[in-house]
Symmetry: C2
Subunit: 408 residues, 2 copies
């Protein structure tokens, strides 16, 4: 992959933020400044991260934790990763319960860019509402056609490195989206994972300042092992990391075609947004919206229509899906064979390996346990192995069924 | 082994305690009532039970826990096991820090029978002091020779069943001790354990009302595996469970011969016991006493002198040495494949086996962990396996070395 840095950072944001590298500024003349100026980052912060229970839970979901020892929460890292591209044009869509926590993490957030869902409605509603609100602002401001907002949606709980390569890919995605495309960033597979959906890439898409852009032939669901191996061997497939960059008008057009009811509801809410009717409209309309994923509602039909492009992302990407990921992502937290996370962990281990997450001040002693996962919180304790990390979700469901919801 | 019930319970204690079986009373005439009337039970309650950390610890040692789901602590069970034989003639020797807790468990205890050690001095000093105090009382009361006290020493933290067979063995030991013998109760080995010392039995010892009594040839240290197998195959060896029944005068004679310094110190303390000088004498003399085990100081030399007999105990006996024992001893606490102990355990397990001890109200979720040991206390958490149960002791030593003594 070509490492491209030929897009500008957002005009005027460099000095204020102090995050702009000088190399970015040097080539500013080579791309239309308008593309990145149209960019508005959207951070959907939904999902509890059930496989990370009892660390992550309804009241304190995954994105509010520092799961990589970076010293910042995942949502703050996501925000800072986007900041040089978006400036303060960042919107967060999250559950009502997490509004305050999100503002605690991103005090710079404009209050009108904090969108609170009365209840979870899956990604099409969350991202669609963001698009509808941004589009409604465009209309109000007279920004039509190629002046309209290009939104980029990036989940609040992903881990990405190095950020400069990520920013380069997003930059290419923005200029590609400016050609009226929905652009996804696909991750070069490092192994034949059966846990992710894949993106089948087509021919190179010729866009000035986006040398890595390709057409997308189709999105495919999580494959079996055999198919996954074929995908990776072919070199034509990328992991679908759920990152979308698109003109809001184009995204809404596809949503209207595939999910007219959802589109109508979101349009009604967006029209009331920022007015005296916002709360009433949201409370009335939101519960009626259908639950569906943005992949079904927008990405797949748009790909069928030939409207989707992809920028391959040659960076490491992890959605921190379980405690095995925690071990992978924290090489710096190794104590002998243990990965130890926590504010002031007091862990003694002998003849043991695995992960300890210590949210309490308790001494944790591990003897003769291999590939163990111990998550020690005030009201719940999990003991499993890295091999069983994915089973944590079922355990949480079982606890719910048993009536132990107070710790979920 | 003959199941013998031909000894009387302690005269006069039956009605008061309501614990006497009618079969015991029916043969009262066949033995001299004086033997059991001379009996005074001594319960040494020392030792932290380090292998049971973090459940058992310096401030709350093993004997203060209910480790069998019996609903009572080990020390209370020990007391109740002896009560029909000893009546209220029970002495407890424990550390100063545990005096109050012991009285909490045995409110019936006479205060002059609560002997508090200023610091741990091993079993010879603890049992020797009990013998010296009881002997001193005998002297003061004019009980000499065959009227003197027969003490029986039984550790506070052992688990025994069924109690009636135990009581039968103790009854035989008391009448055997009345023939001026130090009598141990040896446990019939169920397997070639390398964790216990063994007692080599000799010929039958002819004592009226003690049909199982045998001479003891020698005590032998914990053997290797090969030797242990030979011992068990021979049928001549019993496990040494550290239970001794002896006239206090005889025990003290042997102590005086083997450990004159210790004997002199204990005699000085005993002489001051119950007087105004008790505290001062104890504080001055106790720290100077040598540390040694009762086996070396009394049992082994007495066996060499031909003064030791044994009653084989055909009951199950466990010294609850580690968490593997906890699993063994709590068949009733099984939830699927897990042994779960605790006041209100909230344990969810899936595809797991082992032991959970829950001293907190936290939810404990176990997924895919086999033969696991999880001990969950307010300030410390242990995760190990039943195979590594014996290694807990080293972990505690390592924590001490690391400066984590607050949780030990």
């Amino acid at each position: 992959m070509t490492c491209f840095t030929g897009y500008s950072v957002r005009s005027g944001s460099g000095d204020t933020l102090g995050r702009v590298t000088s190399s970015s500024n040097s080539t500013q003349a080579s791309i239309p400044p308008s593309a990145l100026d149209r960019f508005h980052a959207v951070i959907p912060a939904g999902g509890v991260g059930t496989r990370l229970w009892p660390l992550s839970r309804a009241g304190a979901p995954k994105f509010l934790h520092d799961l990589t020892g970076a010293g910042t929460t995942l949502i703050r890292s996501t925000y800072e990763r986007l900041l040089p591209l978006s400036g303060h044009s960042v919107m967060v869509v999250t559950g009502e319960a997490h509004g305050e926590a999100v503002l605690g993490q991103i005090p710079e957030l404009n209050l009108e860019d904090l969108v609170l869902e009365p209840e979870p409605k899956d990604s099409a509603a969350a991202i669609g509402l963001a698009a509808a609100i941004l589009h409604s602002r465009d209309v109000a401001a007279g920004r039509t056609g190629s002046a309209g907002t290009i939104m980029g949606s990036f989940a609040a709980d992903h881990v990405i490195a190095p950020v400069q390569i990520f920013r380069d890919a997003v930059g290419q995605a923005v200029v590609t989206a400016a050609t009226d495309k929905i652009v996804t960033i696909g991750i070069k597979p490092t192994h034949p994972s059966t846990g992710f959906g894949y993106i089948r890439t087509g021919e190179k898409y010729q866009v000035a300042d986006a040398p890595d852009a390709h057409h997308v032939i189709e999105f495919v669901e999580k494959p079996g092992e055999q198919i996954a191996q074929e995908y990776v061997a072919s070199g034509d497939y990328l992991w679908n990391a759920g990152m979308f960059v698109a003109p809001v008008s184009l995204l809404l057009d596809h949503l209207a075609a595939a999910e007219p009811e959802l589109h109508a509801g979101l349009t009604e809410i967006a029209a009331a947004w920022g007015t005296d009717h916002q709360a009433e409209t949201l409370a009335r309309v939101w519960p009626t919206l259908p639950k569906t994923a943005i992949d079904y509602a927008v990405a797949e039909p748009a790909a069928d229509a030939g409207d989707v492009a992809v920028i391959p992302g040659n960076f490491t990407w992890d959605d921190v899906g379980d405690f095995a990921a925690i071990a992978r992502l924290n090489p710096a937290a190794q104590q002998e064979n243990m990965t130890v996370l926590g504010k002031k962990p007091r862990v003694y281990s002998e003849d043991s390996s695995g992960v300890v997450v210590s949210e309490t001040q308790r001494v944790v002693a591990l003897i003769g346990v291999k590939d163990i996962v111990v998550v020690d919180t005030e009201d719940a304790l999990l003991v499993t192995t890295t091999d069983h990390a994915q089973s944590v979700k079922q355990a949480v469901e079982a606890l719910k069924a048993k009536g132990d919801s107070d710790v979920l």
